[in-house]
């Protein structure tokens, strides 16, 4: 009986309707490339790929922002650095040279992605260790400052293209697949996104996730129970940086180009908008938010160059009236409840 209570009462135990919704969502995502080809719109596949990559980044940011209450305005740093890992390793691979005289280049996705995760994590450890000594507005500003420092560092690095960035002639290789093919690359991104969301789901439902939620609600209360909030927050921030670095590496592969643009503070803002649009502190919210923003951007830019003028009011409406972003809206429309 009590064993039952342990295994069957977690909030993450999907209710039947939620499980159905997830299944439908998964099926849609798998069927999407074939569907849009049948409809004669193959250009939609790269668009969907971009949604998935941004969803990974936004979901990672959401772990820090939504679940941990750490409003980071510097996640572009991890995103951009993840991209540069791919770019620099590719450059060294082409030149057959060693990065810093130590690390050989590579064009293997199975190496560049873990490398981007590692570098993203280490950078998050460094930035987080310093930034998390502050909180509130100071935390927002200090994360922004670190990201801007990196932005200007890469702008001034002429060896890696400086302002102009660097092109990556070919996408990284994976098991001899043709990664150049849009559909193949879409499925690679879909598989990775699925893994990331699964990992985040497990993390949020774990004891670590509960403690993080508790710290978010009241840090001192947690401290009085014997939990050192700093370590937990730092761990969450590092995981968040790792996921964002991964997304950056995928984005560099997708664009076959990496530039300081990926490090710019507007990118941090975009990721934040995705999280807020989708639903702060929800699991699937960032996916909906990324989809909404990417699609809105594409549609609106085809109408007008001042697309942000329309985006702003839409964002306002979502924040004001949906109570919990698109995820909240969907759940109230009865599309399966997803409280977290």
């Amino acid at each position: 009986m009590s064993e039952d209570a342990i295994t069957h009462t977690g909030p993450n135990t999907p209710s039947a309707s939620r499980a159905l919704m997830l299944l439908a969502l998964a099926l849609c995502l798998v069927a999407l490339p074939f569907l849009v080809q049948a409809l004669g719109q193959p250009a939609l596949v790269p668009l969907a790929t971009r949604v998935l990559i941004y969803a990974i980044a936004a979901a990672s940011l959401n772990l820090a922002l939504g679940f941990g209450g750490m409003v980071s305005f510097g996640h572009a740093a991890f995103f951009g650095v993840g991209g540069y890992v791919v770019g620099i390793l590719y450059r060294n691979y082409v030149d057959d040279s060693l990065f810093l005289g130590l690390i050989p280049g590579t064009s293997q996705l199975l190496i560049t992605l873990p490398a981007a995760i590692l570098v993203g994590g280490l950078l998050a450890l460094l930035i987080g260790a310093l930034s998390l000594r502050t909180s509130g507005v100071q935390f927002i500003m200090i994360t922004l400052a670190f990201a801007q420092m990196l932005f200007f560092l890469f702008v001034s690095l002429k060896a890696y293209g400086g302002d102009d960035g660097m092109t990556i002639r070919r996408r990284n290789e994976l098991f001899g697949l043709n990664t150049r093919d849009d559909i193949t690359f879409y499925f690679i991104c879909l598989a990775i996104a699925a893994l990331v969301f699964l990992a985040l789901w497990r993390i949020v439902g774990s004891r670590f996730g509960m403690v993080l939620a508790g710290i978010h609600q009241n840090e001192r209360r947690m401290a009085a129970i014997g939990i050192a909030p700093y370590r937990y927050k730092l761990a969450a921030f590092v995981i968040s940086g790792m996921g964002t670095g991964l997304a950056g590496a995928l984005m560099a592969n997708y664009l076959r180009f990496v530039s300081p643009d990926m490090l710019h503070w507007t990118k941090s803002g975009e990721l934040m908008i995705m999280v807020i649009l989708g639903g702060v502190g929800t699991l699937l919210g960032p996916l909906f938010g990324a989809a909404a923003l990417v699609i809105l951007e594409t549609v609106l830019t085809s109408w007008t160059e001042h697309w942000q003028l329309i985006l702003g009011p839409i964002l306002l409406l979502v924040v004001l009236f949906t109570q919990g972003g698109l995820n909240g809206l969907f759940s109230r429309l009865g599309l399966g409840r997803s409280e977290r």
């Binding site: 909030p11 939620a213 009241n218 947690m222 401290a223 014997g226 939990i227």
Partner: protein, 233 residues
């Protein structure tokens, strides 16, 4: 086990504690009595490191605690059930209990979910509910259960029965008695002297930030008039 000497604390410039002293031995139930505003909760906050004491000594199991961080103090084996319950509203009952569970002192028979549920059967009924939806009494039980799940050597209950219905109050008292029978050391802060007299071994009275009286339950009964002067309304 816990020994406090000449504890002084202040909120900014206004000093609240001038000279608080108390001792709690292994397996003892001790109370801290006094009117509102006399420094009971401030004493607890200073003990837990939530408020940095200005002076005095606090030692727990021979370790000096003054100046340590709250988490370090809690890790020594002090479990606090704070005033006003303070559960984590967005977590479920089970999550509130499990999230911070620990057996830091390596107890041989640690508290488990089953044992907490046995002590508070209502919590088991509500295991999957979010803590926000619980009644005040249930939240109080949850706060006690959460503290027990950290397997503390000393449990501090700050106004655990304040604002609860008499029936729920009685249930909490029953649990504290059960805990006492198991040898749990407890520091109780409450205003219900009739019950405390029966439940506790020794009592301390605080007035205006000083320990002004201490004694056993029989002393308390014998000095009813003096006690009434300090504590009565």
């Amino acid at each position: 086990m816990l020994s406090v000497r000449n504890l002084q604390s202040a909120y900014g410039a206004s000093q609240v504690l001038f000279d608080v002293g108390l001792d709690i031995g292994e397996g003892e139930v001790v109370t801290l009595l006094g009117r509102n505003g006399m420094g009971k909760t401030t004493t607890v906050r200073s003990l837990m490191g939530l408020l940095a004491p200005k002076g005095g000594e606090i030692s727990f199991d021979g370790r000096a605690l003054k100046g340590s961080t709250p988490e370090a103090i809690a890790r020594c084996g002090i479990g606090l059930v704070p005033e006003g319950r303070q559960v984590f509203p967005t977590l479920t009952v089970r999550e509130n209990l499990v999230a911070t569970a620990a057996n830091r002192l390596g107890r041989s028979s640690p508290w488990t979910l089953e044992r907490v549920y046995a002590l508070f059967p209502r919590l088991q009924e509500r295991a999957g509910q979010s803590a926000r939806t619980l009644s005040g009494g249930e939240q109080q039980m949850l706060a006690v259960g959460r503290a027990l799940m950290t397997n503390p050597k000393l449990l501090i209950l700050d106004e655990a029965t304040e604002g609860l219905a008499p029936v729920i109050r009685a249930e909490i008292w029953r649990c504290i008695e059960a805990l006492k029978a198991q040898g749990q050391s407890i520091l109780l802060i409450d205003k219900n002297i009739a019950v405390l007299k029966r439940l506790a071994d020794r009592h301390y009275i605080i007035e205006k930030g000083r320990t002004v009286w201490s004694g056993s339950s029989s002393d308390l009964a014998a000095n009813a008039e003096l006690v009434h002067r300090y504590v009565g309304v």
